[in-house]
């Protein structure tokens, strides 16, 4: 600092330094590119790279300004780069609420808080690849900036470029946490190559350790993303049995779950009704996206489920029946709460849940349904056919979203819908006609056919394929009916949830207990009728129950109580005739869309894991020290172990001794250490004498010596080690503790020997 103040002159850039910074930038650029599997577009990449440029360039400038005082430059570069990074982020995200555009004010931080909160929603609810909106960009900027600072710190300030692998690994962990976003192998390979280049540039003559470190990085990069999320999510199963994971978008894997032979209990509930309702999880109404799924909800913390709004469109005249359901969620890994429709109040929830006013579904971006016990007050809507008929074809305004279809919707859907409903006038009759059409031959229920014939998906083109093939499961039937209804101008949506499950033995204070398993996962359409609101239909043959009002043939006659699937699987013969087996043993959730929903937990877990990883060297080193000290104190340790501990401690605090010094040479060097006098110098001499006697004296003598002087040796060792530690400054001490050079050297040697 004083250097520049005294003689200001042009900064002098060191060419090697610049090359190294450029290489580091390339490494970051390639690695960040790997995020393309989870983020759409390229703007986020440009932003991330720009921030990396800011960090590395600032570091280079600081070093160029202070070429004569490298230590000062090494210490100053990271904080200065952090300030530059902070200013850049403020300018990019909050210049309008900052003083002079770049000095943060209270409003700036309020903006940041909002962005972080929004990012939480956005990350939780967007499908992969996600649109990098403002909030996600902000979190990305913070994350990348921090990692770039770490990179700067490791590569330049600490001169440990191998550690740059840590932030890189952190970047690679991100796609691994999402369900779809597998790591892109090419970017991974590119990043690994760039990283190796960085290492080789630093240590051109040390191929073997560099390659070994690189190999470890590559392998851990490949392996770690594989196990990290799964351990995060499923390791917390404890006590709740095997998990049923529906994730944010239960539609995605519903078929897989139905095809699975092992059925897991999702939840149990008790109710006085012997005709329980379906339990809804999510509403799917946007038919435009590639993969259908629930839209990203904006959860308003005021929407507490204790007091739910009146269901949309329900007029006073419609028959309703109050019901109370006590639900215990077993191990359902889902950010959606299973509830009957329409609920008026949900009480007893422990987590933070909010309802969505349109669909009356309940979701959370902080917690999972697992383990919740709650009471749902709901009403059973029982419109009479006359009321439904009276709705006619009128559709109230404001339901446009529930009517729109993508422009490329295949014609076959519209023509089929028109043909099936020919002659029907009211929306109700049309709906009944479609349901009847789908429930009768040639349509049949099959969980396997869509997979084998390759139309197992969601989207209008799959609906068209299904209409031609006539075989599918609930998703296909529900989607077909919903899309056909829209073609006919009836507002429709798809609901994913559970059918009522099967009756369990025993009761709960007079209430029936039902058990719901993965086999009960289901999808069904809801259609909107003016004056009544949303009404459930059941187009899937041999599944679930057709509601009274939708049962054409027996309209007005109470249907048979729902058997659920307790007595056997659908009679399609697609899988073994045996009933669903409740698997009591431990299993790992097959798919982990929940990784998305609990991304906050996952990020926390990764951070915790990173911190643990950071402390691993310190722990290993401390373990060695403790082992040696114990050995000495108990008389089994050798003087040599004390000596090695002494050498390693000296190495850790930066006193270069090396293996070519004799014990006396080491002592001569250490006696120059600050504070090594009096008691500690004598202790040092005693250790030296002991190790000489043991190492070079007659073998008969040393045994007795080690046992005799062990405890004293331990005391002397503690004295000398303490003296060595206090002889250096705080920074060196912390570095010695966190990343002991002796350990680094040892592992390098071990790796080299192995190689």
């Amino acid at each position: 600092m004083s250097e520049t103040a005294r003689a200001p002159r042009a900064p002098r850039f060191n060419r090697t330094d610049l090359a190294r910074a450029a290489l580091l930038l390339v490494v970051f650029g390639v690695t960040l590119g790997g995020l393309h599997t989870i983020l759409e577009g390229a703007a986020w990449w440009v932003l991330s790279l720009s921030l990396s440029v800011v960090v590395f360039a600032t570091g280079a400038i600081v070093r160029a300004i202070l070429p004569r005082v490298p230590i000062a430059a090494r210490v100053l570069a990271p904080p200065v780069a952090a300030v530059a990074l902070g200013i850049t982020i403020v300018i990019r995200f909050a210049s309008d609420v900052s003083l002079w555009g770049f000095i943060p004010t209270g409003e700036t931080f309020a903006r940041f808080a909002t962005l972080v909160r929004d990012a939480g929603y956005s990350i939780t609810w967007q499908n992969v690849p996600a649109n990098a909106d403002e909030s996600i960009s902000f979190v990305l900027a913070l994350g990348v900036g921090t990692l770039a600072l770490l990179g700067e710190l490791f590569a330049f300030s600490l001169r440990l470029p191998a550690l740059v692998g840590l932030p890189l690994a952190a970047i690679f962990l991100v796609p691994g946490m999402t369900p779809e976003g597998a790591t892109d192998g090419w970017f991974f390979a590119g990043s690994a190559l760039a990283y190796l280049a960085l290492l080789l540039a630093e240590r051109p003559k040390r191929y073997v350790p560099v390659l070994a470190v690189g190999a470890v990085a590559v392998i851990s990069g490949l392996v770690v993303p594989g196990w990290l999320p799964s351990t995060d999510i499923t390791a917390t199963n404890s006590g709740l049995g095997p998990s049923v994971a529906t994730g944010v978008n239960p539609m995605l894997h519903l078929g897989d779950d139905l095809r699975e032979n092992d059925k897991h209990v999702a939840l149990t509930y008790s109710t006085v009704s012997d005709q329980p309702e379906y339990l809804r999880l999510v509403e799917v109404s946007d038919f435009f996206s590639k993969d259908w799924g629930p839209s990203q909800p904006f959860l308003d913390t005021d929407n507490r489920p204790v007091d739910m709004p009146r269901p949309p469109g329900l007029a006073v005249g419609v028959n309703t029946e109050k019901e109370v359901t006590y639900i215990h969620v077993a191990n359902l890994v889902s950010p959606w709460l299973p509830i009957p429709y329409p609920a008026s109040s949900v009480t007893g929830l422990t987590g933070s849940w909010q309802y969505l006013p349109n669909s009356l579904t309940i979701a959370s971006n902080l917690t999972l349904a697992r383990g919740e016990n709650y009471t749902v007050s709901s009403v059973k809507i029982a419109p009479s056919p006359a009321q439904l008929l009276a709705a006619g074809t009128t559709v109230p305004a404001g339901l446009h979203d529930y009517l729109s279809l993508p422009p490329d919707t295949p014609r076959i859907i519209a023509t089929t819908a028109a043909r099936v409903t020919a002659g029907e006038t009211s929306n109700y009759q049309k709906a009944l006609a479609i349901q009847q059409y789908l429930r009768s031959a040639p349509f049949e229920y099959s969980e396997v056919a869509p997979v084998t014939d390759d139309y197992d998906g969601t989207g209008v083109e799959y609906v068209a394929a299904f209409l031609e093939q006539h075989r599918g499961y609930c998703i296909h039937f529900a989607s077909a009916m919903a899309v056909m209804a829209r073609e006919l101008g009836i507002p429709s949506r798809i609901i994913v949830g559970f059918q009522p499950g099967h009756l369990k033995n025993g009761d709960d204070q007079g209430r029936h207990i039902f058990e719901v398993t993965t086999a009960d996962l289901h999808a069904w359409p809801e259609l909107y009728f003016s004056g009544i609101g949303w009404v459930r239909f059941e187009p899937t043959p041999s599944r679930g129950s057709v509601p009274d009002y939708a049962n054409q043939s027996t309209a007005g006659v109470p249907p048979v109580p729902v058997p659920g699937t307790g007595s056997g699987s659908p009679s399609t013969g697609d899988h073994s005739g045996a009933g669903p087996q409740i698997d009591e043993g431990p299993t790992v959730a097959r798919w982990l869309t929940s990784g998305e929903s609990s991304s906050l937990f996952a990020i926390g877990g990764v951070l915790a894991a990173l911190i643990v990883v950071l402390f691993i060297p310190a722990m290993v080193r401390a373990g060695r020290r403790i082992r040696r000290m114990r050995g000495l104190a108990s008389g089994t340790g050798t003087a040599e172990s004390a000596w090695r501990e002494l050498l390693e401690t000296a190495e850790d605090v930066g006193i270069g001794l090396g293996p070519t010094l004799t014990p006396r040479g080491v002592v001569a060097r250490l006696q120059r250490v600050k504070g090594m006098s009096g008691g500690s110098a004598e202790a040092l001499e005693r250790i030296r004498a002991a190790v000489e006697m043991e190492g070079y004296g007659r073998p008969a003598a040393d045994k007795a010596l080690g046992a005799l002087h062990g405890p004293e040796l331990a005391k002397d060792l503690s004295t000398v080690v303490a003296c060595l530690r206090t002889s250096v400054d705080e920074g060196t001490r912390i570095r010695a503790a966190l990343l002991p050079p002796s350990l680094v050297r040892r592992s390098k040697r071990a790796v080299a020997r192995f190689a």
Partner: protein, 331 residues
Amino acid sequence: MAKSSDTVDFGEFHAFSRDILQSVETVIDGKHEAVELALVTVLAEGHLLIEDVPGVGKTMLAKALARSIDCTVNRIQFTPDLLPSDVTGVSVFNQGQREFEFKPGPMFANIVIGDEINRASPKTQSALLESMEEGQVSVDGVTYPLARPFTVVATQNPVEMEGTYPLPEAQRDRFMIRISMGYPDDAAELAMLQRRETSSPLDLLEPVVNLKQLTAMIGLVRGIFVSEAVEQYAVSIAQETRRDRELRLGASPRATLHLIRAAKARAALDGREFVLPDDIDALAVPVLGHRLIASARVAGAGSAFQANSIADIIHRVVAGTAVPLGTGASA
């Protein structure tokens, strides 16, 4: 001294060696290291080569050492016309008894001072050096064992001086230790002047150790323990000199042996029962220095420069050789 046995303990060894050193140092001022190395050579049953310019006290050191020990001492002044038989001895025909009779040469003594050994012809040099190595002299097919202990203390002028025959490598290798006296510093030179003004202090020297005691001391040195780690260290250094690119000739196995033997003597002088790597370090230059030959690139500037640069190379090799710790078995 009161003890009449053939062995000495460490206390006596220490007393004797201190006496010898003090005695020699009354004559040689300010050269403690050289004197100690000379004693190491004697105790390790090696031969000493003292190399330096004329007039710095080479012969004085040799004589002082010999006088301090009560044993037979012979001195040979080497000249170009000296014959091998002048050194080893000669068989002459005894007319009276009508047979050949061996007249032992000056080699038959416990300490032989060979002054200016590089002035002798190579033929005479080799006669001396062969008997040094074998501890015996063969004349006319008859072998005569030399005295025990037997130490040759040879002095020589640096080879660039006029009228010298430099010792060949093979013969230099037979000397355990080579030392250089070096010029004395101010104080030492002044002290020397004042002492010599009236008489030669050499004449005042009395033996402080007798032959029996010296033999016992040598016996103690032989019994000094050398751990495998230290042997390994010496071997590593020797190996490294053979690999080093700046050296044309590395250390011979005999050099390694001498290194260990000298180290034992040094350890004993230090009051230790075992050899440390530090002994090896300290003796590397005196023991190896005269045996190694620098490659042409380094040697270009003549021998004085060469001696320095060889010492540098040895220092570098020693500094670059890992010191084995203890048994080396446990990590």
